[in-house]
């Protein structure tokens, strides 16, 4: 367990607590303290000089610092690792007053919901174990008592454990004679509980000896790009291993549409199913190895994916998903034998696949609704999963409305000149010096930048907008005097990092068309929310909270996302991130039958709106193509802040 240390930044007089080993530049960003830094944290640009006034850091000394600098306590913030409480001074070379300091970016605002665990489930009365184990010492058969093996097992489960309505699977029947006799009739039976009470319990496995303390499940999120798996201990509820890997279907098409097109070719569907199963099996193996368990000890697997991924997984041709009127094949899928899908699991394992609402609101979203528990509360919740498509769900325990917005790939880096996925070298955090317009770039992996990922993009655009560098249409202020803002081939752009500071030997820039693409993407999502709310007769003010899901959602800065008008304005404390909602839902349904039971009703309750068929959507969309919106009254706090800042900025020296 790492220690936590307090760091105080001067002259800003801002304090933040960070874990041991964090870089100083990330700590500064977190605290809302700007430090010029172009190279993403690799020590190349040499700009991020800070003075350690008290406490210890590790590293941070480079040839860019003279001996004198070093002795004076200068360090490069991007290479300095926190080792104690610190007092850090930012050498503010320009003459700026306190009001400017106060106008530095607000501290990055992210939060995580505490995931539900087994104790929570029990406390809330939601715990109905889907799979249980019972240990039995059976009497040996004799000439006077030569019942069939299975009848003996069933009889004693009734006698000693009060079990009724038992069905014995063929795989157990095939195993039982040998296992009983090898184990001297001392065995553990695995019971799969019915989802609906009163239905039958299936005896799905039998193991020699007492294995009641070893009972595991796997949960999987089958994403278009990435597949994540968790190995869950069903006794404790703990996640024993978690791995992710690219969905190998990517070789046959980057997005769902190109996957569907491939699936329509002869043999295409079979190929795509085969490769996704291959990844699943690889992840299962890694998890089993990591957690040091036997494959035979896994009792159940639950999977969630979008509608196309789900149909491909189950070899159901997805051709109609991409054709008007966008009809998916099924909402609910029956429980399936994992081996019949090709999964390298015991033949006793049932695979439970999350149901779909529509062609573009799939099992990943349903899983998020289940896993987040939003379907159980009174609170009116907006659930958003933002990726290439943004899916939104609004509702509570009484009703649920949902829609998919074609946000385009901007949040995943698509359509952005230097856009990229949130992988190593992507600028994920950014701030800007108010006067010099110099950037502070932080990249994933603390390496020189290659591009900008979605969360970085939002922060960048929000920052440019708040500082007046771009206007509410996303156009640069033509009058600003900095080499970083320039016009090339008629296109205005901001140079985020100079070629020499990058990994790609080209200037990394953010252009007006990039900003425009982002505005269209956020406009599509925001107008989707507005339209859904209107359809149910509500407004943003009625929302009690927002849940953000998706890899992207986990990193987005809430204030910034509201600043650009991606999220409705709301107290950030009422916005929670659940990370991978699909995986969370898969995990929850592995843990309790309550989720398995509720999911069918919840899915039926989720009323799908096809935005393209919804009258008001286009008007809402056009109104949302501004930063943050045409109607600034929808964003009163931002409106106020902008007004305050602009007047403050005036006093700060520069005219806007």
């Amino acid at each position: 367990m790492k220690d936590t240390f307090k760091i105080k930044f001067f002259p800003h007089n801002k304090e933040i607590a960070v874990k041991e080993g964090e870089t100083l530049i990330r700590a500064a960003m977190e605290a809302g303290v700007h430090i010029n830094a172009s190279c993403g944290g690799e020590g190349v640009c040499g700009k991020c000089r800070v003075i350690i006034e008290s406490g210890d850091v590790e590293g941070g000394i480079t040839e860019k610092l003279s001996q004198k600098d070093r002795e004076a306590g200068y360090r490069q913030a991007c290479l300095s690792l926190v080792k104690s409480d610190l007092i850090v001074r930012i050498p503010v070379e320009s003459s700026i007053d306190a009001s400017v300091l106060n106008m530095q970016s607000t501290p990055r605002c992210t939060a995580r919901i505490k995931e539900m665990n087994l104790e929570d489930l029990k406390d809330k009365g939601l715990f109905l174990p889907p799979v249980e184990k019972k240990y039995l010492e059976l009497p040996l058969p004799t000439a006077q008592d030569n019942l069939p093996d299975v009848s003996r097992l069933v009889g004693y489960l009734k006698l000693e454990h009060g079990e009724h309505r038992l069905v014995v699977d063929l795989s157990v029947i095939q195993k039982i004679p040998d296992i009983l006799r090898e184990a001297d009739f001392k065995i553990t039976a695995t019971l799969a509980r019915p989802v609906h009470p009163g239905r039958k319990t299936h005896i799905i496995n039998i193991q020699p000896g007492d294995t009641t303390h070893r009972n595991y499940a796997i949960a999987m999120d089958i994403g278009t790009t990435t597949i994540y798996g968790q190995l869950i201990d069903l006794i404790t509820g703990d996640v024993l291993a978690q791995f992710g890997d690219f969905n190998a279907q990517i070789s046959y098409g980057e997005d769902v549409i190109s996957r569907i097109m491939f699936a329509e070719k002869p043999g295409g569907l079979e190929k795509l199913q085969e490769v996704v199963i291959g990844v699943i099996n690889k992840l299962i193996q890694k998890m089993v190895k990591k957690a040091r368990i036997d494959l035979d000890e896994i009792s159940t697997i639950t999977l969630a994916g979008n509608t196309t991924m789900t149909q491909l997984l189950l070899k159901v041709n997805p051709r109609n998903i991409r054709r008007s009127p966008y009809v998916p094949t099924s909402s609910i899928y029956p429980p399936l034998k994992a081996v019949h899908l090709g999964m390298a699991l015991g033949d006793h394992v049932t695979a439970l696949v999350y149901p779909q609402v529509s062609s573009y609101v799939g099992g990943d979203i349903v899983a998020g609704v289940m896993g987040s528990g939003m379907y159980l509360t009174e609170e009116l919740t907006l659930y958003m999963d933002i990726g290439t498509n943004a899916e939104i769900v609004i509702g509570n325990k009484d009703w649920l409305a949902c829609a998919a917005c074609s946000a385009g790939p901007a949040f995943e880096g698509g359509g952005i000149t230097f856009g990229m996925r949130a992988t190593k070298g992507a600028i994920e955090d950014f701030s800007m010096d108010l006067l010099t317009l110099e950037p502070m770039n932080i990249t994933i992996g603390n390496v020189r930048p290659k591009g900008i990922c979605g969360s970085g993009l939002i922060i960048m655009v929000a920052t440019l907008f708040e500082l007046g560098v771009i206007d509410n249409l996303g156009k640069f202020d033509r009058n600003l005097q900095t080499p970083r803002i320039r016009q090339i081939d008629g296109i205005w752009e901001y140079v985020v990092a100079w070629a020499a500071e990058t990994q790609i030997d080209r200037d990394v820039v953010l252009s007006e068309p990039d900003i425009d693409n982002l505005i269209r993407a956020k406009g599509a999502i925001f107008s989707g929310c507005m339209t859904l709310l209107e359809e149910v007769g509500l407004t943003v003010k009625d929302l009690d909270r927002i849940i953000l899901a998706g890899g992207f959602g986990s990193y987005v800065d809430l204030e910034k996302a509201m600043t650009i008008g991606l999220l409705p304005e709301m107290d950030p404390a009422r916005v929670t991130f659940i990370g991978n909602g699909s995986l969370m839902g898969a995990k929850m349904s592995a843990l309790t039958n309550r989720i398995r039971r509720d999911v069918v009703e919840v899915t039926k309750k989720m009323t799908n709106f096809e935005l393209s068929e919804t009258h008001s959507y286009m008007d809402n969309y056009v109104a949302a193509l501004f930063l943050p919106h045409t109607d600034m009254n929808q964003f009163p706090k931002i409106k106020a802040r902008l007004e305050a800042r602009r007047s403050g900025r005036k006093t700060g020296g520069r005219d806007l």
Copy 2:
């Protein structure tokens, strides 16, 4: 449809009705009229001369008949086919009086129960269709109504057919998008009904257009020796095709014990499963071809077999069946997907396998109990299925007791010098001239004899016993003057056919050890019945009826079987044959869920008695090692007949 003709035999003055084309010798046998005939009906011995006094026969003229004979109306009975009403005179060359004629064998007494059909089931309230089809014309999806395909199907099944609680199988989900669109959304859904009302109905298939009138099932009896299949029209209840074939497992062992031993070898179980599935698939193909239906139109398959055959079919190692304390693996098997067993049927087809009672009272017997309906009546019934093992069930709708008797293979020809299965060339019927002791042999296929099958053996021993040729211990009367009774190497025997009259160029004989084996076999079965009755506190007198099943049971002469003490004495009118009880039960469970529902309770109700563990069995066995029994008071009618016959025989000329 063949015509039926009346045939009158003189001087016996016996009349019988037979179908057009029947041979005269079989008609005579049926009427209880003895005609000397050694060669089994192939015209070789030339002994079966009869005179056609009126009417027409086809054939019957051979070189053994002179021109004068022919003109006088002489024909060989074995080659004469009935073509009209006939008056036939048997030229009785020996001087026998009317009393002797009356002592000719009683007419062969066999009967067949009328199989239950769909109308019966409906009349008796037993009809619950397991599989039904529903035709639907679905509205085409639109942008405003783009429900998932499956939701559309389920919704309209509810709306138009009042169907609720539907589960859709994955195979249907995989098919539905293409079939709906190919068929312009006009489709037929196949619904598999729950066995227990209130459970879920599965949508197992979807076909383009209206196929509601085409709905078929397959029923199979998996015998150790033979596998029989029926293709059943589920709309009419008619059997559209029926085929049988040897169980190819025979190559790996003739009987269940040697099969089990083979299954215990590495790969043995898999091999045996593979070959039995091979035969099943061959039969399915033949039936489908014969009935001119599509494989896809078969909706369900039901199978019944003994415990070993069932375990081999389901790849469940049968090793404990042959080891004390003879524990089978399971009583009940869950419904299985036919394709998962390797059957060449649609992936929508569920295979239902009959449950087992014990290691030696298997699904074939349970099927017989179900198919015969004995579990539904008040009447106290003795159900017997006689093969290598004889299985017996006694009971009615309130209780059922059962046991397996190790009868040995005598009834299938095993342990009998010239014993053989009931195939071509086996003597299946026999009578004997009271004075000359000349035989009348009738063989299967009307060819020269090769041996004696079980039913022939019973008739032969009963006849020898009734005519005083053997005593109640099965020993030949040493004083009879005929070359047919002789002692060879110290063993007494009766020559049934001389070498020249046979296919095998050896005298076909019946020896005292043969008779002894038969007595042991029938003793094992009869004492099994006695023991079961005693265990439940009843006697033979309490029995209301007997049901005989098995290929053997179909041909056995009831009076003769009682004469040797195989069956308890009873009015033959209260004995019925149901032929292949296993197949009949399989068929019934294909036709109605009522059988599927009842079978679990019935199987639980069937109390198994291990005879070897039952105190009184050995005493009963020893008492049964006589013809018909030590205690002749158990066979009062036979006792009376023997006494009458023996006194009659004295007047007939020869002293006993």
